[in-house]
Structure formats: structure tokens, C-alpha cells
Symmetry: none
Subunit: 371 residues, 2 copies
DNA sequence: CCGTATTTGTTCGTATGTATT
DNA sequence: CAATACATACGAACAAATACG
């Protein structure tokens, strides 16, 4: 009995309202479709007609549906979207950290020049948060979305929302990464496979052969950099050892990789270099190695990725891959403007792949002459 | 009978709704006043409580009134532009540089939690750009503006735009600084006078007495930090020498202060410390001093301001003033939410002054024992 | 055009739950 | 604790617009 009461917190009209809203957003109920009549809903949900009406009145107020006396209730031609709002949404995983401020700045430069404003959202790299953002944005007056997908390694759970965007002719551009099975969508990203390959090859050429890898597992960038890392090893005839690779999730960023590399180091697991997913993690790796009694680069070389401001700290300049930050933002914004002007059926290439370039620092040693 | 039917067009809930609306608009019911309870209305209008609730729900939806569980129904602080866009504009001088990403993140945290979105604009610290931003924003659906004024030292040239905001009941909150003659507006800023005073006093206590100052001349923060600097000198009986102060404009940031301090240094103008407007400029000053053959802190001490990530670079940790970045953003966002909820005539204090605090680094030497 | 069924719109009555004073 | 006030829920009835044979 008390158990049941706790569960029963869900209000009937809220439940019904959200059920219907879900059906509308998911596309089960399309624009112009007739909803079941109040009596039918009342029967099928086992609630009173009053309760049904309460739920419907909320949706009507929010603009999802409209009622016609004597005819029925219908799904709105969602929504009186202002087609000339001059707003473009920018959705990133994080706001203030790392390279994002500069990417956003690049987007802003181009869009402001053309008279657009940015609506900024961030997801904390959570898919549910991303879905919430998109739902919110579908309610707003926007002309397009530039989005860095959250957990892009995993299959996108809310394709329906992207479909909704397409239905409404709201163009979107992926940056940094792209969900599986959405490779045909407009996107601006780096060739991460090649980046991982280049930086690993760089280490091999400097005489390293026990190269540990630390990669982020929940975005497509991490997957691709890892593939490049594997390719470079195999090309050089170094067998790939899965135990040498540390995968981490964003959520554990503060703890996990540090500890893994620390334990690997103090347990004397042989390594002469560490390829890192990005500069941020490289700094943690260096910290862990130092704490374990190793010197970088004298004992172990470490590489970063992105060449962010973090690549240059405490006199240590990480060897890294150049991330064009602002430039990437500008390219994404320009692609967006083209999509708005020429419609979504853009003739030219909609996929921009930025070729990586190595920038050498002092975080790696040449071990060829040491042998 | 037909006669009666025509007259009967007046629906009871519409009648009641319009009655109440009239009373609100005429001022019979003032903002914050409690309406009669649903039961009282039901009695006095001889309608059912359902009907009363229907009437009230319309008024509530339109924003005229709000209901509080267990307390009663109250008259709103009429009326926020009728708009329910859930957008709040954030206008800063810069986007990606320095402390701004973290300030914006703080704002975002609070606003996202409350279901708002940020429209981001930046002015490049140009007044004309700021005016253009405000004009653009007046065309958009926004519920408020959080704005860092550009060139806040100078009298605001586009007061008319701020007046427009007030006419439209769009609340605005200043952050970082505030235009002259607008001190009564809502604002969140640091006590820059005290900050300048504290950090200068710190140097004096460490035995410095030839303290050069480098201040930004085009915002109110620079003016106030300079005043604090003067106050500390005079308190210590050190006469103020205007030739010892370098003023610079934002536009010249990259060139001017570097050259001034460089020339001051190579011309052997005596100095044992430099108080800098912020960490950014402090790094340039240190560069200039190094290039002129001086060592920091051995020959000359240097202080920063804001304790940004720049305060800690190349093994040098600037002595600086703590800027609460995210916290400041959060406070501004919370103040904004209060203004939206309670109307512009907020009872409580609308001006938040954050007290500065020194954070000691290794960029200053104690010269008391050197004499 | 009429009549009937369906569907939304409006109103009344009642009961129970929950927050505030 | 009791009284008050809003919140949710159900049932019933009639009105008005619409669809359809």
C-alpha cells in the first residue's frame, strides 16, 4: 500500500499530456492528424473526460494542438515558427572549457557579420540533455542549429528530433563529430583517424615502440584517433596490445585516467610513450607519471591533441595536433549560412574534413640515438 | 426564448474573467494583492468553483495573476512584455578570451536550470557595436539582458536604448562595470577600488615604494583600480607621480602598454614594482621587463588582477586579485531571474558588490630585508 | 433539408489530497 | 491541531458545432 502510494506520484493528466506530446514530437502524430476524441482518450486511459480536457488544454496552450468545435482535436502545423528570426542555435558539449570558447568565437564572428545571433546551449556531453536542448530549440524561433553531438560514438537515441528538424526545414551542421548513420548530413570535423595515425607515427619515428594510448570511449573522435593509432603501430610492425590502451568516459575524466596511468606506471608496465586523446588528458597523464616517479620527456614521451592553451604550461610545450578552433567555427558557420540561403539540397560538398597537422613541442624525446 | 439565448452569449467564465481583468487593469487590484478565494468568487458570482477556476486559469496563463498552493491567488507585477520566449540575452565585450567563458558558464548554469536559453552577443568593447547589439535584441523575443557595458568609463551614448528596454519592461543587469549615472540599475560587480587598494598596499608592505601602475582607461574598472592604487600610496605617505602611470586603451592592447613599459625600463626610470590592470596585461609587462633586461620578481615585482588561467604560466604564478568568474555569472543570472519574477521594482538590493581578495603567487619579492 | 451520432464547449456537483497559516 | 485555500480527479448534464446518411 505505501509502496503503491509512492509510485502513484505521477499525475494522470500530466501522464496523458506527456504521452501525447511524445507522440507528437516523435512523429507518431503528424501535423494535421486528428487525435482520438476526448471520450476515446477517457476510455483508453481510464480517466475522466475532465482529466483528458485538462491535459489537452495544456497542449493547446503550448501550441501543440488545436481543437475545433464539433470536429475534433488536431495536431498543429507545428509551430508558427518565425522564419526570419535571425537566430542560430549553437549546441556544444561544454562551454567554458578547453577549445570551445574559441570555436564559439569563430562561429560568432561569421554569424554576427551576417546579422545573426547565437542561442547558446550545452549538453555536458549527455544524450538526454542533448535531447532536452533540441526539444527546447524546436519551440524557439531559430533558423538553424550548429551542434556538437554528445557521446557521438553511441548510436543516436533521438533521431526523431533530427527528423523533426528536417521536417521543419531547419538545417543543422555537426561539428567535431557525427553520429553513426548520419554521415551524409552537413558536418565540419577533423580527420581524427589521420591525426591519431600521424602522432603515433611521429613517436615511432622517434624510436618509441612501447606506446600506451589513452582514448575517450564515448565520442567518435576517440574511436577514430584510436584507429589511427592502431594503423600506425601495425604499419611499423609493432603488434597491437589492447592492455596498453586505457579507455575512459567523460564522466570519469577527473579520476579514472589518472589512476589507470599511475598504476600502470608504478607497476613498471614497460612504456616509453603515451599517446593521449587530447591536451587536457595529456596534462593529467604527465601529472600521473610525475607522481609515479617518471620524468617527461626524459623517461616517457607524452603527446597531446588539439594544441589548446593547455598544451603550453609550466614550461612544457606538448607535441600535439593543431586544432583550428576558430577556423572550424567559422567554417561551420559559413556552411550553415549556405544551407540557409540555398536550402538543404545544397549541391556542393556538405562534409568538410580538416586535415591534421603536427606541432612539435618538447614533450617527446628522440630515443633512436639512445639505443 | 430566442431573445434570452442571444443575451445568454455571455459565458459565465468569460464574464468573471473580464471582470477581474478590468479590476486589475483599472488598479482596483494592485500588484501583489490577494484575490478573493475561489470559493468566495464562486459564492459572490453564483457560479461553480470549476467556472471560477476556468476564469482564473486564463488570467494566470496570460500572466495577470499567479496562484500559490495553500495561500491564495495574487495579482502579478504586470506584465513582462507578454512574451514568454524564455530567452535571455548575454552581452559581453569579448567571448572567448580571458575570464569571459567562465562568467558565461556561470550564467548558463543558472539559466539552463530554470529553463532559459542564452542569446550570446559580444561588442568587442565598442560602444557602437553595443548599440547595434541592443537594437538587434530589441527586435527579438527576449525576457532580459545581462550586459557588460563597453567603455563604461565614458558616458553612455545610447541611453535611449536602455530607456526603450525599460519601456518594454525588459529588465537588464550590468556585470563587471556600470555606466556613469546608471548606478541605481541592477548590477553585479567587484569592488575594484578596494582591489586596487589592496594589491598596492600589499606591495608597499613588501617594501616597495616606486610602484608603476598600468591601467585601462576606457572602463570604469580601470578608473576604480587606479583610485585604489592612489589611495594606498597616499595612505603610506608615498607621493603620487602621474608619470608613473601608464594608461592604455583596449584597441592598443597588443602594442601600447608593452612599448611604454619597455621604454620606461630601458630608460632606467626607477621602479621596483608594477601594478597591472589585469593578468593579461601583467604577462605583457613581464615580457617587456624581461626584454629590457630585468628579472621578475628579483628586480621588479609585478601583480596581476582577476587570477585568471593566465596568472599561472611558465612556472610563474602571479600575485593577483581573485575574480569569482562563474560565481559572478551565477549571481547575475539569479538577480535577473528575480527581476523577471518580481518585476523591476524589486524590493531587495539590486546592486551586488563582490569584495576582492588577494591571492599570493611568486611574482613579488619581499624587499623589506633587502634594504 | 432533416435527423442522428459524434465531438468539443460549458457548467454544476462532489470528493480527496496537499500546502499554508 | 484545525481551518483555509489551492490541486487533482470523477461523474453528469446540456449546449453547440460538425459530419453523414
Amino acid at each position: 500500500m505505501p509502496n503503491q502510494e509512492i509510485v502513484q506520484k505521477e499525475l494522470k493528466y500530466v501522464k496523458l499530456m506527456e504521452d501525447l506530446k511524445e507522440k507528437i514530437l516523435s512523429g507518431t502524430l503528424k501535423a494535421g492528424d486528428k487525435l482520438p476524441s476526448e471520450n476515446e482518450l477517457s476510455m483508453s486511459y481510464q480517466v475522466s473526460r475532465q482529466t483528458v480536457r485538462k491535459a489537452l488544454s495544456i497542449l493547446e496552450n503550448a501550441g501543440y494542438i488545436y481543437a475545433e468545435h464539433g470536429r475534433g482535436t488536431f495536431c498543429s502545423e507545428l509551430v508558427h515558427h518565425n522564419r526570419n528570426s535571425r537566430n542560430i542555435a549553437v549546441v556544444t558539449t561544454y562551454l567554458s572549457d578547453y577549445i570551445f570558447p574559441r570555436v564559439i568565437k569563430g562561429i560568432d564572428t561569421v554569424l554576427t557579420r551576417e546579422g545573426y545571433s547565437i542561442i547558446l546551449k550545452n549538453t555536458g556531453n549527455s544524450r538526454s540533455q542533448e535531447a532536452r536542448c533540441l526539444e527546447e530549440l524546436l519551440q524557439k524561433d531559430i533558423e538553424g542549429i550548429i551542434i556538437e553531438p554528445s557521446k557521438s560514438q553511441i548510436y543516436c537515441r533521438h533521431m526523431n528530433l533530427y527528423q523533426k528538424l528536417e521536417e521543419y526545414n531547419i538545417p543543422y551542421v555537426f561539428i567535431q563529430g557525427c553520429f553513426a548513420r548520419m554521415n551524409d548530413r552537413p558536418q565540419v570535423l577533423m580527420n581524427d583517424y589521420k591525426g591519431g595515425y600521424l602522432i603515433t607515427k611521429y613517436l615511432i619515428e622517434k624510436g618509441h615502440n612501447k606506446i600506451t594510448g589513452v582514448f575517450k570511449s564515448d565520442d567518435i573522435q576517440g574511436q577514430n584517433r584510436h584507429k589511427g593509432y592502431v594503423a600506425a603501430l601495425q604499419e611499423a610492425g609493432i603488434s597491437y596490445d589492447p592492455d596498453r590502451v586505457i579507455w575512459y568516459y567523460t564522466e570519469d575524466r577527473k579520476v579514472h585516467p589518472y589512476e589507470s596511468i599511475y598504476h600502470m606506471a608504478i607497476s613498471r608496465y614497460p612504456m616509453d610513450a603515451v599517446v593521449c586523446y587530447n591536451d587536457q588528458i595529456a596534462m593529467k597523464v604527465i601529472q600521473a607519471l610525475n607522481d609515479a616517479g617518471y620524468k617527461v620527456p626524459e623517461d616517457i614521451s607524452v603527446t597531446g591533441y588539439d594544441n589548446s592553451y593547455m598544451a603550453n604550461i609550466n614550461g612544457m610545450k606538448l607535441t600535439s595536433i593543431i586544432h583550428p578552433q576558430e577556423k572550424l567555427g567559422e567554417m561551420a558557420a559559413e556552411l550553415m549560412l549556405k544551407l540557409i540561403q540555398n536550402g538543404i539540397e545544397l549541391k556542393e560538398e556538405k562534409k568538410i574534413l580538416i586535415e591534421p597537422e603536427i606541432i612539435e613541442g618538447n614533450s617527446c624525446m628522440d630515443r633512436k640515438n639512445n639505443l
